[in-house]
């Protein structure tokens, strides 16, 4: 049982489907997002990530199913507790960054004039706060949208591709910011193509493909359907024979200087492997229990 299992559910999605004429954008998707989690929603282009996020923000209407925020009936007051960046930064082009945030503040009721200054500073836009939104670069627009989402410390942050348009420094800053917010107890729902980013910051993931939810759970649960042990010795072919003799493995993959041995989930015993190899006269120079990368898992699940 994960540390989040007993926690309050922030968002509950039940059997949501969305069709566009003959295209099924989402097919019977159900998810629960625990409070305090950093929940990554992954999937290739067209998998339904943004459609799902749009539905839970009441931008799109689902054909079937329902959702509830904070365990309450769905209405606009729940959305005021959520800071969201969906697809593109949407602001009034003729207004300055600061004046746009005043509108966000007035609609959401989150924050005050001081908070607006603070978020502008947090996203490095203080110097350009009086400039019109239309004069901002793509990265600045994205940062303003993140600032708007952060305004007034919402209980939940929903970020759809938050690093779009940002340079490497900006991406690193957003990652640090999300990690900081997660430590402060914010619930963060995030979609991104950058699997490495997601793996670094998420506690939970859900993987979508063509509108179908393939898997969801804590990162450890999702990645832990088999154990991978990296192993190496002076003579790799002898080592391979030894592992074959030992048995109980799923597959052995030969890498340039090591073997990658896949075991059924929870069955890899490094001590036993070491002992067995030693008893066969093989001295190991590498023995490492390696978690499968999210990227590997993602491609396994999403490749046809």
């Amino acid at each position: 049982m994960s540390e989040f299992s007993y926690m309050e559910t922030v968002l509950s999605i039940n059997n949501i489907s969305k069709h566009y004429q003959s295209v099924t954008a989402l097919n019977n998707v159900s998810l629960s997002i625990p409070k305090g989690s950093v929940f990554g929603i992954l999937g290739p282009n067209g998998s339904g990530k943004t459609t799902l996020m749009s539905i839970i923000l009441d931008i799109l209407k689902s054909n079937t199913g329902n959702y509830s925020w904070f365990g309450k009936p769905n209405d606009s007051s729940q959305r005021k507790r959520i800071g969201a960046l969906l697809e593109t930064p949407n602001f009034y082009h003729y207004l300055s960054g600061e004046n746009n945030l005043k509108i966000t503040q007035a609609i959401s009721g989150r924050g005050n004039a001081k908070d607006i200054e603070e978020v502008l500073s947090a996203v490095n836009l203080s110097e350009r706060k009086k400039s019109k939104f239309s004069t901002y670069s793509l990265g600045m627009k994205q940062r303003l949208a993140i600032g708007a989402a952060l305004l007034g410390n919402p209980e939940v942050l929903l970020l759809d591709e938050p690093t779009n348009g940002l340079d490497p420094v900006g991406i690193a800053e957003i990652r640090t910011l999300i990690q900081t917010l997660a430590k402060q107890g914010f619930t963060i729902i995030i979609s991104s193509h950058l699997l490495d980013e997601i793996e670094k910051i998420c506690t939970h993931v859900a993987i979508l493909k063509k509108g179908v939810l393939l898997t969801s759970g804590t990162v450890n649960e999702v990645l832990r359907n088999e154990d991978i042990v990296e192993i190496s010795a002076a003579n790799l072919s002898e080592l391979k024979n030894c592992i074959v003799e030992m048995g109980n493995y799923l597959s052995i993959k030969e890498e340039p200087n090591l073997l990658q041995v896949h075991f059924p989930s929870g069955s890899a015993d490094l001590e036993a492997i070491n002992q067995f190899c030693f008893s066969k006269g093989i001295t190991l120079n590498l023995l490492l229990n390696k978690r499968k990368s999210l990227e590997t898992k993602f491609f396994e699940l999403t490749n046809d």
Binding site: I59, D75, L95, I107
Partner: protein, 275 residues
């Protein structure tokens, strides 16, 4: 409602195009009426019999209390100017995708449409204020002796407001469904200036009595042509009185049409995907 008003003010107050358009309206309405006033002056300024007859027949339609009616009638023909404002305010939300962001930030779908209803109410109110200023200006400047009658026929002010609101609601629904400013404005102008005039003419000639239910004609008939405008025939008085007689019905039909417009917008916005 006050919060919605405050938020719409935040959107508008630094929107230069809005203020430029408003300045154009501020200049146009007195300009339009001044044009018609000079036509009137030209007809009545001569000393010969025809001019004096015209003066006796027309009176001074720009003095109190007729100025309320006359200026309201002429001003109402230029509804396409505030219509540009309304169309801009609704289509901007689509071009900036702020129609989505407002919902994401916490507005309900009903609040979004209500905010646009407030825009139309405000624009109609501003236009009516301009019209009141124009009427007072002409009343005092063309015949100051009649100022004691300035409180007569004041009902033309709410009638003008209602007609403006009804016709701007048509501009709104076009902007709401078409989403593109130029296309919505083009269709508005094409229908308002050409299509409906042809339809009214055709239906009148063919004696098919449904012209008064057409979208603009229904509210146009709230402000009947002043007695001196184009009614010089033998049946002028009868026609004028007939036009006056149907005003209450036209108010009711306009109310129904306007309620339908907003009802459709509220209903559709509840159900549709916000793209």
């Amino acid at each position: 409602m006050l919060l919605l008003l405050k938020i719409e003010w935040l959107k508008i107050k630094r929107y230069r195009a809005f203020w430029w358009m408003l300045a154009i309206i501020l200049l146009s309405y007195p300009g339009i009426n001044t044009g018609f006033y000079f036509i009137y002056k030209n007809i009545t300024k001569g000393k010969d019999m025809a001019n004096q007859l015209a003066k006796t027949f027309l009176g001074n339609p720009f003095s109190f209390p007729e100025t309320w009616h006359t200026t309201a009638y002429f001003s109402s023909h230029f509804i396409f100017l505030p219509a540009i404002l309304v169309i801009m305010l609704v289509t901007n939300e689509y071009s900036f995708k702020t129609n989505r962001q407002n919902i994401i930030d916490g507005w309900s779908r009903t609040e979004f449409i209500s905010s646009k209803l407030i825009d139309v109410i405000i624009v109609s109110f501003i236009v009516t204020l301009v019209e009141i200023g124009v009427a007072i200006g002409f009343g005092f400047n063309t015949d100051a002796e009649n100022w004691n009658k300035c409180l007569e026929q004041l009902y033309y002010i709410p009638l003008f407001y209602f007609q403006t609101f009804a016709q701007l609601s048509i501009a709104f629904i076009l902007g709401y469904f078409i989403k593109k400013a130029f296309m919505a404005l083009g269709i508005f102008l094409f229908y308002y200036l050409i299509v409906e005039n042809i339809l009214v003419g055709y239906l009148t000639v063919k004696n098919i009595p449904i012209a008064r239910f057409l979208p603009f004609e229904v509210s146009d008939k709230i402000l009947v042509s002043p007695a001196f405008v184009g009614n010089f025939g033998a049946d002028a008085k009868t026609k004028y009185e007939a036009a006056l007689q149907i005003v209450p019905e036209q108010i009711l039909f306009t109310l129904i049409m306007t309620t339908l417009i907003w009802g459709v917008c509220y209903k559709v916005h509840q159900k549709r995907d916000i793209l």
